[in-house]
């Protein structure tokens, strides 16, 4: 089959690879219909997560059709249209039973790497390096889905492929940030990053009853998109004073909940961007946590900060003083999508949650390297490139 392969830092190719095979009785094989780029893929592409091998298949956000099921798969049959959570989780360990699915004890076939780096291993993730299981990704014609009864969700007839695709990762990740960040009626919520995940977090905050939701970015097209499709306020950090605006729009208190949806390759104006770039390139820190620092600084006293952006390991100049002295709650997680996807598909069916606008550029899989170039460099206003392997 054809697949998009990681060939080295900033090197991609579309090549032939062996078809996936059933390896466990709870597996399914899915024919991929749509598969989306995600900002976190750029960390792999750029070599910031050093656990990739030449020939790894990228991609973790996808939707498709079941073509084969193992004898222990009960919920799905050949022909089902399913969206698959990007995390591989067993559904039965203690963490899965606490609905913390991305912390699954059994979904990662290489637990030693992350145990040594982070202390304990999270679950696996498709196409997200050998640190998270080494599972082949979804930028391919077919993909193996372990624990298919847990991770694959049948898409209701009234939800289009275009909309349901983002129930795989962007929508549940965003929803989790607002939910576990503790958004409640009357809150002022600030979201750093107006990419797919940030937009979904902002929409989730609206649906959870926030009084004001303010999304922060530097790209005018993304901010216009957020105003148009999500009904939220915007801030352009290159042209506006973020701190002053947040104070003004929150009665001088600061946002109750601050959601960081940027991750380890943050940008900013000012000297701190240069500082973090130099340190990251010299490997003196692995991640640039600029948006996380800002979220902690601007959050109200006693407020909540949730990290949705992907971080790999160590950061510098982390404002523990602000965190401690303001009594903040800091949380983060990879997505516990299994917990939210059925509810999100229902909301998509009712029209409460729209996502199609995120797919600004749809193309055949053969053009995926160009798609990643557009996505990485924000060419032509690209928010998400979506590949269709059958096209």
């Amino acid at each position: 089959m054809k697949a998009l392969l990681w060939q080295g830092v900033n090197e991609l190719s579309v090549d032939e690879v062996p078809d996936p095979t059933m390896r466990n009785e709870q597996d399914a094989i899915i024919r991929v219909r749509k598969t989306a780029t995600c900002g976190s893929d750029l960390h792999l592409l750029g070599g910031y997560i050093p656990f990739m091998e030449r020939g790894d298949v990228l991609g973790h956000e996808f939707l498709g059709e079941v073509v084969e099921v193992g004898p222990q798969v009960r919920k799905h049959k050949v022909g089902d249209r399913v969206v698959v959570c990007s995390f591989v989780s067993c559904g039965r360990c203690w963490y899965c039973q606490q609905q913390q699915y991305s912390l699954c004890d059994n979904g990662n076939t290489n637990p030693a790497i992350t145990e040594n780096i982070w202390g304990f291993a999270p679950g696996g993730c498709y196409g997200y390096s050998h640190a998270l299981g080494g599972f082949a990704g979804s930028h391919a014609e077919y993909i193996r889905v372990p624990y298919a009864d847990q991770g694959a969700f049948t898409v209701p007839d009234e939800v289009s492929d275009e909309r349901a695709l983002f129930a795989s990762d962007a929508a549940p990740t965003g929803w989790m940030g607002a939910d576990l960040g503790g958004v409640k009626a009357g809150d002022v919520v600030a979201v750093w990053g107006a990419g797919g995940v940030g937009q979904m977090a902002a929409r989730a905050a609206v649906l959870l009853g926030a009084e004001r939701v303010i999304i922060i970015d530097r790209f005018a097209n993304r901010l216009q998109m957020a105003e148009k499709y999500l009904g939220v306020e915007t801030l352009n950090y290159q042209t506006q004073d973020v701190g002053g605006e947040l104070l003004e729009r929150s009665g001088g208190r600061g946002p109750d909940v601050c959601i960081e949806a940027v991750g380890m390759e943050s940008h900013s104006t000012g000297p701190q961007y240069l500082y973090d770039q130099v340190k990251q390139q010299l490997r003196l820190e692995s991640d640039r946590p600029i948006a996380a620092r800002e979220a902690i600084y601007h959050c109200r006293k006693g407020g909540s900060v949730f990290l949705l952006g992907v971080f790999a390991n160590l950061v510098d100049k982390f404002p523990l003083g602000a965190l401690m002295n303001k009594g903040l709650t800091l949380r983060g997680a990879q997505q516990h999508g299994h917990r939210y996807i059925p509810m999100l598909l229902d909301r998509m069916a009712r029209g409460e949650l729209v996502t199609e606008h995120l797919a600004t550029h749809t193309m055949p899989l053969d053009e995926a390297p160009q798609g990643y170039n557009m996505f990485k460099n924000k060419i032509d206003g690209c928010v998400r490139a979506v590949f269709e392997p059958a096209r």
């Binding site: 697949a3 095979t21 067993c90 979904g107 076939t109 080494g134």
Partner: protein
């Protein structure tokens, strides 16, 4: 700049080797590990069995039973309904760090077999099967990949467990 980067790699490589050769376990990367333990450490994990498949009086699950008389095993209930704690350690005495490191590098450290057996027993008890990695692989072996491929081959036999 190139010399600086090289020096950085040497320091990081040395620290990684030191960590690999010293006994793994309870110390964080910034803490001093003891050079020699008096007795083998317990490898412990908590299992959330699907049914009452495992109690303190149960026979050992298969991957652990396969370790035979070489190990001591303890099974006890975890607090607050968190399942069952499975603890395994080598029956015979400790090895020197150098011997232990050499056996780990050769893949012949019995602690590696204990880790793998514990992880597999947990998966069997919780999900009914052991999750396998994708195969056939799509990756190619290169000089840069090789250390990572060696590490992932030991994926379930290493780690902090």
């Amino acid at each position: 700049m190139r010399a600086l980067v090289k020096a950085g790699f040497i320091v990081v490589g040395g620290l990684a080797l030191r960590r690999f050769l010293l006994p793994s376990g309870r110390q964080g990367p910034w803490q001093r590990a003891p050079l020699m333990r008096r007795e083998p450490r317990w490898h412990v994990l908590t299992v959330n069995p699907a049914r009452d498949e495992l109690t303190p009086d149960s026979p050992l699950p298969e991957p652990l039973a396969g370790l035979g008389d070489a190990v001591d095993v303890q099974i006890r209930r975890a607090p607050a309904d968190r399942g069952i704690e499975l603890a395994v350690r080598l029956r015979d005495g400790a090895q020197s760090p150098v011997t232990a490191g050499a056996r780990r590098l050769a893949g012949r450290d019995p602690n590696q077999a204990i880790r793998a057996a514990l992880r597999e027993a947990k998966q069997l008890l919780e999900t009914g099967e052991v999750l396998h990695p994708d195969s056939p692989p799509t990756t190619q072996t290169t000089a840069v990949n090789k250390p990572l491929q060696m590490a992932t081959r030991q994926g379930r036999r290493e780690g902090r467990l």
